[in-house]
């Protein structure tokens, strides 16, 4: 079982209790503050030594309980104001993309799981990665980006409309774009939207001015959604054949609404948004497998199927549907996310869609 998420005081205590290593380096806490986060001072000084102590470097330490762009920026500003030493920020866990970000900005960082990067060019560069997190997932992957969580509709809506005057307007914009089944599912309530916004502000993808919010970093938002994306939770699967022509098929699905939701999957929608040829069979997300199967007169077969149904009651697949010619296509966001987690060719194509989504979020036109 992963350990519970440590506080900053617990991180500092853990560092004070022992000598630790990062690759060939031996690290020790030379001096620690009585309590972390003191104004105008660093949380401690860490010494990194190698070649049996013949060479060493000292780092000004700041400990942070959770990774976010804002917490990194705040830590860095405090360290630079308080000490001339090289900055070192310690988090409970650093994922690969966190290490890449630290490297990109030339900042040293460590975690309590064995990952880190120590940086003092041109004398020192050590990077250790690959150790799994020892803490609960929520510590590193905020719920707001997790595609199975209804809160993830909030960051998605900012990619479609980058500015809102109030929280209520954001909630309303989400509701307008939701087409999933409501029965038995958790609606997107105002408090969920507010929590999501707080996280997005913490991650510096949104900025707040009074009650208004606007998107400031679409690329980062999309990167966070991509990192946390998982395919929808499926409660049933059907592979088979229907003799219906597309127009009749969609007419029958339309007749099932609003009790039963149906939409082409993101992968299946790839051809609608990009030049990629999609799957040979029609792939749909449906909220009620039996009802859809019956309505489409489909028989199961593994041989040359022309229809595949995935039953899911997640909200994300039914969010921001695009109707054209009677067909309900997945949102370009859902399509991008599924392609970004697909085959090499799909990943390649996803970059094209990613660029269009970012451009659109910046006001560059519809996707």
């Amino acid at each position: 079982m992963p350990r519970s998420h440590p506080t900053e005081a617990e991180i500092l205590r853990a560092l004070a209790e022992g000598v630790f290593a990062l690759g060939p380096l031996v690290l020790s806490l030379e001096r620690a503050a009585s309590a972390p986060g003191g104004a105008g001072e660093v949380d401690g000084v860490v010494v990194a030594q190698w070649r049996e102590g013949k060479i060493h470097r000292r780092f000004a330490l700041s400990v942070r309980a959770q990774w976010s762009q804002r917490s990194l920026d705040v830590a860095l500003a405090q360290l630079r104001a308080a000490s001339p030493l090289l900055p070192l920020v310690v988090f409970p866990y650093l994922a690969d993309d966190h290490l890449v970000e630290l490297e990109r900005r030339g900042i040293s960082g460590l975690d309590l799981c064995g990952n880190g990067v120590l940086y003092d060019p041109p004398h020192l560069f050590v990077r250790c990665s690959g150790s799994p997190p020892e803490f609960r997932r929520s510590a590193t992957t905020p719920l707001v980006y997790q595609s199975r969580n209804i809160a993830s509709l909030v960051p998605r809506v900012f990619l479609l409309q980058p500015a809102f005057t109030a929280v209520g307007a954001i909630q309303a914009a989400c509701h307008r774009r939701m087409a999933g089944p409501e029965e038995g599912s958790q609606p997107l309530v105002l408090s969920t939207v507010s929590k999501a916004l707080a996280q997005l502000e913490e991650d510096m993808v949104l900025a707040r001015k009074g009650r208004a919010r606007h998107l400031i970093d679409a690329e980062r938002l999309l990167a966070n959604l991509t990192r946390s994306f998982t395919t929808p939770t499926t409660t049933g699967h059907f592979l088979g054949k229907t003799a219906l022509e597309p127009a009749e098929l969609w007419r029958r699905l339309d007749a099932l609404r609003p009790q039963v939701a149906a939409v082409v999957t993101g992968r299946g929608s790839a051809g609608h948004y990009t030049g990629l040829v999609g799957p040979e069979r029609l792939q749909l997300y449906v909220s009620d497998l039996d009802a859809a199967e019956r309505a489409l007169d489909a028989r199961p077969t593994q041989a040359f199927p022309n229809l595949e149904l995935f039953e899911t009651c997640d909200h994300a697949p039914y969010f921001d549907l695009r109707a054209q010619g009677g067909v309900l296509w997945a949102s370009p966001i859902q399509t991008y996310l599924e392609l970004a987690h697909g085959s090499a060719r799909e990943i390649d194509t996803s970059h094209e869609l990613q660029a269009r989504l970012v451009q659109q979020a910046a006001g560059g036109g519809p996707t």
Partner: protein, 300 residues
């Protein structure tokens, strides 16, 4: 896929049999090999969709052939006697009871002889006036002097339905070019024959290593199906669902190919070890096989 050393002799046989109005149905490993080659070409050139990715076919040096039943029913002078004469003309000698023949290959030792096995389905009610048969052979009642037999093959009950035709292009042993076609059984009939052969192999107390190819051939035949063939196979299965000869076929399905861990599938995996072709999809293979033979598996 390369041309096999036996192909010139097949071309020679097909050329002469066609010229005498006695077309052959090419079955066995050679028929499967040629079909695999033709299907691969269609996949590449015309984007034909096959049920599964195609594994490689086994090379073979034998010719297994059926004469169409209509040829057996003709008067001997126009049918089997004419075919016997043709075989003798081409240098084929009876090796076993006028149903297995060998043709020496010039300059090579006898182990490289071309082997021809003739097969025949069990004669039906209306055909038995002219044909005699037992568990081993089928022949004409009035073919004294120039006997010719087909090995009795009950599982070939559907050999005459839905025959397919493959291009056959090359040269005969004399170097004469040939561009024609050869008939092969429909996948339904091919599958019935190979399922039975696989069952016989698995049930045998002393297994012959060569018999392992039959299970693999079942996989390859299934993999090569296109959508039209799949539907035709299901239709033939509905037509023959209550035929007595279906029983061993359904037994083969249950005993050998019920799931990917059943003995037939294990044999396929062992056979495919040396194959650098497409990976096996046994889950789908067993699923489709049961879909195909569903009408015979359902209670009456």
């Amino acid at each position: 896929m390369a041309n096999l050393p036996i192909e010139p002799y097949l071309i020679e046989l097909v050329r002469h049999a066609d010229a005498r109005g006695l077309p052959l149905i090419l079955a066995g490993g050679l028929g499967i090999y040629l079909k695999r080659r033709a299907v691969a070409r269609l996949v590449e050139e015309r984007g034909r969709r096959t049920l599964l990715a195609l594994p490689e076919a086994r090379a073979t040096s034998d010719i297994d052939a059926f004469m169409q039943i209509e040829a057996w029913l003709r008067l001997p002078a126009d049918g089997i006697a004419r075919f016997r004469a043709l075989l003798e003309e081409l240098g084929y000698r009876s090796r076993l009871d006028y149903l297995q023949f060998t043709r020496p290959v010039d300059g090579l030792d006898s182990s490289r002889d071309v082997k021809l096995d003739l097969h025949a389905r069990v004669p039906q009610e209306g055909e038995r006036a002219h044909l005699k048969y037992d568990k081993v052979r089928v022949g004409r009642r009035d073919a004294k002097g120039t006997p010719l037999h087909g090995r009795t093959t009950p599982e070939a009950f559907a050999i005459d339905v839905g025959l397919q035709s493959l291009p056959l292009v090359g040269v005969d042993p004399e170097g004469l070019p040939f561009e024609g076609r050869v008939a092969i059984p429909h996948p339904f009939s091919f599958l019935c024959m190979k399922l039975k052969a696989a069952l016989d192999h698995e049930r045998a107390t002393a297994k012959k290593p060569r018999g392992e190819k039959h299970a693999f051939d079942v996989y390859l035949l299934t993999a090569m199906l296109d959508e039209a063939e799949y539907e035709e196979t299901r239709a033939f299965m509905r037509d023959f669902a209550r035929a007595a000869e279906i029983t061993p076929i359904t037994e083969a399905l249950a005993e050998l190919f019920e799931t990917p861990t059943h003995p037939g599938c294990r044999t396929i995996v062992a056979q495919a070890r040396s194959d650098r072709g497409a990976p096996l999809d046994l889950e789908r293979f067993t699923g489709v096989l049961h879909e195909l033979f569903e009408p015979a598996l359902a209670p009456p």
